[in-house]
C-alpha cells in the first residue's frame, strides 16, 4: 500500500473514538468480538453449503429444480447487496475520518448517517425482492416440503434473510446514533457484519440460481 494512496487518521488527545487510541498488535474489542462472531458464522453457513454441495453432487436432477428459482431476482439482489456494501464502506470511511482530516465530528456524523440511510434502504429493498420471490415460488407449489432442494433453498436463503433483518436493525441503531452525533465507532463492527452478509450471498447466488440449466454445480 503506497503512502500516497493511504492517509492514516491522526489521533486526537480527546478523540471521541477510544479504540483509535489503542496501539500494538491487537484489534479493538468491538472488532475482535465481531470477528469471533463471524468465525462461528463461517461454521454455520459453511456447514450448510458443504452439505448442500454433497447432496447436489449426488443429485444432478436438482439442476432442473434450481431452474425454477427466479434468476433475475437473484441477480437484482446481488447488485443491491454489492451496492449496499459500497455504501457501507463509505459510512465507515467518513465516520472514521476519511476524505479529509479537517472534517468536524458533526460533518462525519452527517455523512455517515446519510450513507447509512441508503444502506438500510437497500437492505429493505433486498428483503422486498426476496419476499416477492418467496411468494412467487410458494404459489407455484415450490415449498420446503416439496423436495430436499427446496428445503435447502428456503433454509439457506431464509437464514441469510434473518441475518439481513438483524443487520438492518443494527444499522438502524447505528444510524440513530449518527444522527445524534455519537458512537461513530459503531460503523466498524456494523460494516464488518454487513460485508459478511454480502460475502455469504456471493456464494448462495451461484449455488442456488446459476448452473440451473443442466449439469452438476
Amino acid at each position: 500500500m503506497s503512502s500516497a494512496s493511504v492517509a492514516t487518521l491522526s489521533l486526537e488527545p480527546n478523540s471521541s473514538h477510544p479504540y483509535e487510541q489503542t496501539s500494538g498488535r491487537h484489534s479493538p474489542i468491538h472488532r475482535l468480538g465481531m470477528w469471533w462472531f463471524l468465525g462461528s458464522e463461517v461454521a454455520v453457513f459453511g456447514g450448510l453449503i458443504v452439505t448442500y454441495l454433497l447432496f447436489r453432487w449426488r443429485h444432478p436432477e436438482w439442476a432442473v429444480q434450481a431452474s425454477h428459482t427466479l434468476t433475475w431476482v437473484g441477480i437484482t439482489n446481488t447488485v443491491i447487496l454489492l451496492t449496499s456494501s459500497l455504501l457501507m464502506v463509505l459510512v465507515h470511511h467518513y465516520t472514521m475520518g476519511g476524505g479529509g482530516a479537517g472534517r468536524s465530528l458533526e460533518e462525519r456524523a452527517r455523512l455517515g448517517a446519510r450513507y447509512m440511510f441508503f444502506v438500510i434502504l437497500l437492505g429493505i429493498t433486498f428483503l422486498g425482492f426476496k419476499s416477492y420471490e418467496y411468494t412467487h415460488e410458494i404459489h407455484a407449489g415450490y415449498t420446503p416440503a416439496r423436495s430436499l432442494f427446496w428445503g435447502f433453498y428456503f433454509l439457506m436463503t431464509g437464514l441469510h434473510g434473518l441475518h439481513v433483518i438483524g443487520g438492518i436493525i443494527a444499522n438502524g441503531i447505528g444510524w440513530v446514533g449518527f444522527l445524534k452525533k455519537r458512537d461513530l465507532q459503531r460503523s466498524e463492527p456494523l460494516g464488518i457484519y454487513w460485508h459478511f452478509v454480502d460475502v455469504i450471498w456471493i456464494y448462495l447466488f451461484p449455488l442456488l440460481y446459476l448452473g440451473s440449466s443442466g449439469g452438476t454445480p
Binding site: M1, S5, V6, T8, L11, Y19, E20, Q21, S23, G24, R25, H26, S27, P28, L32, W35, L38, G39, S40, E41, V42, A43, G46, V50, T51, L54, T71, I75, T78, V79, L82, S85, L86, V89, L90, H92, H93, M96, G97, G98, G99, E188, G191, I192, H195, F196, D198, V199, I202, Y203, P206, Y209, L210, G211, S212, S213, G214, G215, T216, P217
Partner: protein
C-alpha cells in the same frame, strides 16, 4: 478498515473501482451459469465468486489490515467445516454406495 488500532483510508474512488470490479465479475458469471453445462463453467463460476469474496474481505472488511490472528479466527471456522465435510462422507457412502 484499521491497522494497529488506527483507521486506514483509501480514496473513495478506490472503493468505487472495487464495486465496479465486483459488478463486472457478476456480469461474467451470469452467462457462464445460464449457458454453462460443463465442469469448467462451474469451476469458473465459483472461482469468480471466491475472487469477489476475497475483494470484499480484504478491501471492504479490511481483513488484510487486521492482526494475523483475526484471519486465524476465520480459519478455525473453515476447519470445522472441513471436519463436517469429512464426517459426512461415511454417511454419503452408506446412502449412495460411493461418494
Amino acid at each position: 478498515m484499521s491497522v494497529a488500532g488506527q483507521s486506514v483510508h483509501h480514496k473513495t474512488s478506490f472503493y468505487i473501482i472495487i464495486w465496479v470490479a465486483l459488478l463486472l465479475m457478476l456480469g461474467m458469471s451470469i452467462p457462464l451459469g445460464i449457458e454453462g453445462h460443463s465442469t469448467l463453467a462451474t469451476a469458473l463460476i465459483f472461482s469468480i465468486a471466491t475472487l469477489k469474496a476475497y475483494l470484499v474481505l480484504v478491501y471492504y472488511m479490511g481483513l488484510s489490515y487486521e492482526p494475523r490472528y483475526i484471519a486465524g479466527i476465520l480459519i478455525v471456522g473453515f476447519l470445522f467445516v472441513a471436519i463436517l465435510f469429512v464426517a459426512l462422507i461415511p454417511d454419503m457412502v452408506h446412502i449412495y454406495g460411493r461418494i
